[in-house]
Every structure is written in C-alpha cells, then in structure tokens.
C-alpha cells in the first residue's frame, strides 16, 4: 500500500509544480462559464415553468463544472501514459515490482486532485463574486455539502476507473488516440457535461441512468445545489459504489488479459 501512496504523492507534487493556473486559464474558464450562464438565461426565459432545474441550480452547476473540470472530465487523460503504450516505454513500467493497474490508478488520481485543488479555488472565488443572477450559491446546508464532497470523491473514482478501462483497451490496438477519442466523445455528453442530465427527455434519461456515466459529475454537482435531495441521494451513492467496484474489477480483469499479450515493437 505504501508504494502506491508514494506514486500518488509523487504525481501530486509534480502537479503542484505546474503553476499553469495562470490568469489566462482562469479568464478562459470565467468567460466560458458566463457565456453558458447567459445561454441558459435565454433558455430559462423561453421555457418558463417547464425548466427542469431552477435557474440558480443551473448557474451553480455550471460554475462547479468549470471549477472541477480537471477532476471529473474524461477527455483530458494523462498523455504520458498513452505515449508509453505507443512508444514502448511501457516495458520499463512492466519491470517494476508493482501492479501497473494500481500504479497508474494512483498516478492519475493524484494528478487530478492536485490540479483540481489549484484550479478550483480561484474559479470558485470569482463565481461567488459574480453579479446577482450569475452568482454561485452556497450549498443548501451542511449535510448536503458533506454529501457533495463524498459523492465528488466517488465520482472522481468512477471517472478514473473509466479512464483506466480506456488505457487497458489501448493495449489491444495500435491507434490508442483514436480509440480514446471515440470512447470519451460520447461520455462527455452522457455524463452531463454538455447539458445537465435533467434536460434529457425521460425516456432517454432512463438509459443514461443505468449506465455508469450518470454517476460521474451529475451526482455531486446536483446535490450541492439541492437539485438532488432526499432518499434519491443515498440511492445514487449506492449506485456510485456499485459502478466504482464494477469498473475497477473490469479494469483489472482486462489488465490481466493485456499483460499476457503485451507486444513491445522495438523502441
């Protein structure tokens, strides 16, 4: 366990080295968030009572999305690892007396937390200081804030296990980047990154809710704003745990298969 903790710490430290949370990155995110807020304002006016979430919940959802972008997105994955698979450096990793799955899992997990910690604070600070309709709200109460943190952590776990699955699938092909883009493209939509899941019509929502994708960013962000409340929360947490375990087992099984047939083509 200690060695995995070390990988986690190492990545965490390197992540902090990049002081990329520069002013430009922050400005970009703020403009992006504001544009979305404005678009939903027009949508809220157009739909009146039909709006599936109230406007302040949507605004909070948007800002949380911007703040924790690096934590729960599926498309920005550790490119070093893909490069390793493609250029053959994977053989060094194979020599290490640790399980690749656990090592890479801790690595991605750590990098994401480090980057998110750096990025979220300025974004959240600005979001709280926005003028009225576009201002981010405080969590509805202390309990829901705690549940937000718990579910965010689980959501991160599910996201990382999903990314690990993509990594593992890359061992079976010679064009990993293409597969990665195909696999993560739709997930971005299904996890509620383009429009929040409550905007999905009921019959489609059903299919999303039996997939793991509804338990990534959708759950924590909606608990925070009080859009998701009551018994539903606990059901969501149970499903999050279920998917976390399932995807992890799947990933490990796939890794065992991949390990047997890794072919390093020179390099």
């Amino acid at each position: 366990m200690k060695k995995y903790y070390c990988f986690f710490k190492l990545r965490f430290a390197t992540g902090l080295q990049y002081r990329m949370a520069s002013v430009t990155a922050l400005t970009t995110q703020l403009i992006w968030g504001l544009m979305e807020c404005l678009a939903y304002k027009a949508i809220a006016e157009a739909s009146g009572d039909n709006l599936p979430m109230n406007y302040s919940s949507i605004v909070t959802y948007i800002w949380l999305k911007e703040a924790f972008l690096v934590l729960v997105n599926t498309w920005a994955s550790d490119n070093d690892l893909f490069a390793m698979i493609a250029n053959g450096n994977i053989s060094y990793e194979l020599c290490r007396p640790v399980s690749i799955y656990s090592m890479w899992f801790s690595r991605v997990f750590g990098a994401r937390i480090a980057e998110a910690l750096m990025r979220c604070i300025p974004v959240l600070l600005c979001a709280f200081l926005m003028p009225e309709p576009y201002k981010m709200t405080l969590p509805v109460n202390g309990v829901s804030f705690l549940l937000f943190l718990v579910t965010l952590f689980l959501a991160l776990g599910i996201t990382v296990t999903f990314i690990m699955l993509v990594f593992m699938l890359c061992f079976f092909t010679i064009s990993p980047q293409g597969w990665r883009m195909v696999l993560t493209g739709a997930v971005d939509f299904l996890s509620g990154n383009i429009i929040p899941l409550p905007f999905f019509p009921k019959k489609y929502l059903f299919f999303v809710e039996i997939s793991p994708f509804a338990y990534m960013q959708n759950v924590p962000f909606r608990i925070y704003s009080g859009d998701l409340a009551g018994g539903e929360i606990y059901q969501c947490i149970l499903r999050q745990i279920f998917w976390l375990v399932t995807l992890m087992i799947l990933g490990v099984v796939l890794w065992k298969q991949a390990e047997k047939r890794v072919v390093v083509q020179g390099g």
Binding site: T27, T28, W32, G185, I194, I195, F199, P201
Partner: protein, 264 residues
C-alpha cells in the same frame, strides 16, 4: 502565373498529407468518427433543450439548427484548411518554420499546406444533417439571394476562423505563454455560436461586432436569411470579413518581421 503555380503546389501538399494519413486507415477512421460523434452530441443537446420550449428569443428550432450548421461548417472548413496555423507553435519550436523561411515560396502557403488534415472533416457530416433538418424546419424561400447569403455565411465564417487561427499563431512571436485565451475566441465561438448571438444580450452582441466581427457572418445575415428583416444589404455583410482578414495578415506580417529564431 505565380497564382497557378501556388495552387498546384497547394494541391500537391494536400495530396501528400492525405496520402500519409491514409497509411493509417483505422486511426483515420477513428478520428473522423470521434469528431463526428462529438459534434453530433451537440446536435442532440440542442434537440433535447428544445423539447422544453418552442422558441428562444424569437428563434425556432429550425432557425437554431441552421445557425448551428453554418457555424459548425465554417469552423470545420477553417480547421481543415487552416490547421497549419493551429499547430504553428510546434513548427516554431521544432525549427520547421526556420526552414520554411529560406525557401522561395510564400510562407502562408507552406504553413497551411504542410498541415492539411483530412481527419478534421468529421463534424461536416453532422453539419450536413443539421443543415437538411434546419432547411426542413424553417420556412425560407430559396432563391438566388438566400442561397448566396447561406454560402457567404459559411465561407465568410471559414475565413473568419482562419484569421483567428492566424492571430493565434502570431502570438507565438510575442510570447511563450500559452494561448488558451485565444481558444475562447475560436472554440468558444464555435460552441456558443450555435445560437444567434443576440440571445446572449446587448453587450456580447457589441463585442462580437466591434472587437471580433462574428456578427458579420452570423447574426446580421441570419436576420435576412430568416426573413426577420427585408434589408437585403445584410446579405452582403459577410464580405466585411475580407477586411478582417487583411488586418490579420498585417499583424501576421508584423510578427514575422520581428521573429528571431530560437535555434534548435
């Protein structure tokens, strides 16, 4: 004569780039599919949103689809032809740009020619589907001037985005900082430009007219196309992009003049 030669050279560049991509067919197909899926998801998102209402600030579903299609198409064409500017910082770092400067051919031609990327065309399919849907849902009387408006919006949009990529590339000469702020102007405009700009309010509309002229290819001609106004001259607003392109070219030349190789 020079022009003819340049076009020939560009076609040569494009065919070589395409051939090299085709060596990895699976990879190419996956890239195209992935980009198609990404754009298609955005189309579905619009459809889902419109299940809750019929009009947004006076624009119907069909109107928004047309707008989405135009912007998506412009951006895709811009990425296809102007990809060289997008990856320009890599060319500078790798010393490729230095090599280009000693060749007796136009710099811009070499930059955009050497990175012609067919794999970028994925969203085109989505844009075409959207266009067909948009035409079916909206009541536009098609005649010479409306067809011209539509075509001018797409081509003007393409040139606008190429101009922005050019500005982004010019930034490499002045600063080594990352250019994520430029991404707002390119990717941001593509993502948020799916709605007619006036839904974002007066302030944004002004910015998109006087700072970066997005409205010339989107909002104003769209008003005419959708029959919201009979001012026919709005159909010729996309021509204004030519001026914008001249300004971009001027800044680019200024940048090239200042350029000092960093060696490598």
């Amino acid at each position: 004569m020079k022009m003819k030669e340049n076009i020939k050279l560009y076609i040569k560049y494009a065919s070589v780039c395409t051939q090299s991509v085709m060596e990895y067919k699976l990879s190419f197909l996956l890239m195209i599919t992935a980009r198609f899926i990404l754009a298609f998801c955005e189309l579905i998102a619009i459809k889902f949103l419109f299940s809750g209402f019929t009009q947004i600030k006076g624009y119907t579903y069909g109107d928004v689809l047309l707008c989405f299609s135009v912007v998506q198409m412009s951006f895709t064409f811009a990425e296809l032809f102007g990809n060289g500017f997008k990856v320009f910082s890599g060319m500078v770092k790798g010393g490729e740009f230095d090599r280009m400067m000693v060749r007796p051919r136009s710099l811009i031609l070499q930059i955009i020619g050497s990175r012609f990327e067919v794999g970028r065309t994925g969203p085109l399919l989505t844009a075409l589907i959207t266009l067909v849907l948009g035409i079916r849902y909206s009541q536009i009387t098609w005649n010479v001037i409306t067809v011209w408006t539509m075509a001018a919006m797409i081509i003007g949009g393409m040139l606008l985005f190429i101009g922005l990529f050019m500005l982004e590339a010019t930034f490499c000469f002045f600063s080594i900082e990352d250019t994520s702020l430029m991404n707002v102007l390119t990717y941001g405009a593509k993502t948020h430009g799916k709605y007619p700009i006036d839904i974002y309010g007066k302030g944004i509309l002004r910015f998109c007219t006087y700072v970066i002229p997005y409205t010339l290819i989107q909002y104003y001609p769209l008003q005419f196309l959708l029959g919201k106004t009979h001012n026919w001259y709005l159909a010729f607003y996309p021509l204004g992009i030519i001026v914008f392109l001249f300004i971009c070219n001027f800044i680019w030349r200024f940048g090239v003049k200042r350029y000092k190789s960093c060696g490598s």
